[in-house]
Symmetry: C2
Subunit: 330 residues, 2 copies
Amino acid sequence: MSTTYDIVAIGNAIVDIIGRCDDAYLAKHSCPKGSMSLVDDAKMSALYAGMGPGIEISGGSAANTAVGVASFGGTAAFIGKIADDDFGRIFAHDIKTSGVAFQATAQKGTSPTSRSLILVTPDGERTMNTLLGISTELGAAELDPVIIAAAKVLYLEGYLFDRPSAKAAFRQAAEIARKAGGKVALTLSDGFCVDRHRDEFLALIKTDIDIVFANEHEITALYQTADFDDAVRRIASDARLAVLTRSAKGSVVVEGGNSTNIAVDPVSHVIDTTGAGDLYAAGFLYGYTQGFSHAKSGRLAAIAAAEIISHTGARPATRLNALASQKGVL
Amino acid sequence: MSTTYDIVAIGNAIVDIIGRCDDAYLAKHSCPKGSMSLVDDAKMSALYAGMGPGIEISGGSAANTAVGVASFGGTAAFIGKIADDDFGRIFAHDIKTSGVAFQATAQKGTSPTSRSLILVTPDGERTMNTLLGISTELGAAELDPVIIAAAKVLYLEGYLFDRPSAKAAFRQAAEIARKAGGKVALTLSDGFCVDRHRDEFLALIKTDIDIVFANEHEITALYQTADFDDAVRRIASDARLAVLTRSAKGSVVVEGGNSTNIAVDPVSHVIDTTGAGDLYAAGFLYGYTQGFSHAKSGRLAAIAAAEIISHTGARPATRLNALASQKGVL
C-alpha cells in the first residue's frame, strides 16, 4: 500500500518566541514592521533581553501550512531540520501530534534549533527576527524521495532560498515531485526575501512552479511596482496559478485570464497575525487537493486565516474541518 | 542604600508545557486530576508523546507568586536553580523581564532545567506532571543572605521539601529572614505533598511559619479530616495566620479566633486553572506587605486568581495593579 500526501512541505523548522512590544520598540531596534529579518546571536539577544515575558510555540511558515492542512483533515508531511535540544524536541512533538508526518533525526552539534523572536504590536501585526540555526543546513540528505514522490502538492518555503544547500535541495525536491506527477507550490515568504532572490523566483515561477502564493507586499516587490493591479496582470501571464492575499482586503486567485476574488472571514479582534499567510495557504491547498473550486478553496483559506489571527501563535487552536463545517463550507 | 523586597520567594524554577487532554487520558495514565505528580523521564516521555501540541510558558509555583507581586507593583526576588539549556534561558528571561530580581547562574551538567507537563481538561482544571531536574539541587550555596534578609516576607514552596538539600536550604533561609525581622510564609503546594511531609509541615507551622497558604484539599490533608470547618478550627489554633482557598467557594483568612471570608472575583469562562493558588497568594501578600486589611488583601488575591484562570498559563497577561485599579480596589 502506498501512501499519498495532500501536501509535503519543506521549510525551516522553527520554534516561535512570541512577545508583545510597542511600535517604539520596533523603531528603536530598526525592525521593519511586518517583515522577517534574519538576525545573528547578538541582535537576537539584544531584542530578547529588552522584550517582556514570552511564550514559546512551534512555528515555521511551511510547517504551519502542513499543520493547517492536517487540521482540515488532509494528509501532510513536513521535511525540515532540527537539533538535539529542547526547542528541537518541542518542534518535533508539536508537528507530529498535529497529525503531520515528520521523520527528522535531531542532529547533535553546534547549531541550535532555529527560533524566531516574534514581536507583536498592539494592532496585532507581527514582526519577526529569525535566528537561522540548524534548519538552514537542510540539504539533499534530508530529502526522502519516497515521501516527496507521494505528494499531490510539494509546498516550498521561499525562505529556504537564503542558503545555497537548501536552495539546491529545494530544486531537487521539485524535480522529484514533478516527475512523480505532483504539483509544486512556492510561497514567496517575505518582501525582503523576494528582494534577495527576485530573478531566481521569477525564473522558477515561469518554469517549475505550478502554484505561487504571495501577499500584496511580496507580489509588488517581485515586479518592483507600487501598483497591485499591475502586479496581478504580470503574474497572470508568468504563473500558471497564483494566490494573492491582501490582508483585510481579501484575496484573489489568478489563473491565466481568470481571477476569483475571495472575501475575508470577519474577525472581531485581531490578536496576532503570525501565520495568517501560512494558514491561508493551508486552506487553499486543502481545497485544491480535494478538487474544490477556487471559490470554495478560497473560502476555506479565509476561514483558516481568520482563526489564526484571533489568538496568539501560528498553529490552529481548534480543528479547522469542524470550524469550516460549522460555517457550512465543509 | 539598602533594597528591601516585599517578597523573596524560593522554589522550583520550572517551565510549563501546557497541553489539552480529556478526562479519559488522565485516567488511562493514572494521573490524579488536579494534583501534581513527580514523574521520571520515562513517564514524562509517555505522557508527552500521547498529548497534543503544547505551548511553553514559564511557571513554578513560588516564581508565579513573585511575578504576581511584581505585577501589582510590589518588589520581589526569586531564588531557584536553572540549567544552561533552552528552558533555563526561557525561565530566566521571563522572570527578569517580569520585574523580579533573579540572579541565578545557569549550571552546566547533566540535570536539565525542570519542566512540568500540565494537562488541562475541558473544565479548565490542570493536572501537573513534573520532571524535577536541576531545581531540586537547590542548596545552601544558592541562598543569598543579603537578599533573604531584605525580605518583608520570605515565601517558601512546599514542593521544595521533596529533596533533603532543598529542605535544609529552606530552613536556613527561614532562619536568616526571621533574624532580620522578616516574616516567613509557606504554601503547602499540593495534597500529596502534604501527605509526604505532614509532620514536618505541622511542626513548622506551629513554630517558624508566620503565614500558611493552603487550598481546601491541602488543609484537610494536613489534618486528615474530610471536614473543612474542622480543619479551619485546627489551623486557627496551630498557625498565626492562615489563608485558605476553596476554588469557586471563595477563601477565608484565619487569624487566631478571627476569620475573614473573601468572595471570588467572577470569571465568565475558566480556561486554565494553572497558577490560581499562586496568584491568589501574590495578591494577598502584596496587600499584606502594604499593610492593607485582610479583606482588602483578599480582594486583590481574588482579582489576581480570576485573571490567571481566564487564560492559558500561570503568569499574568495584564498588569495586575491596573486591573485592581479598574475594579476600584487600588
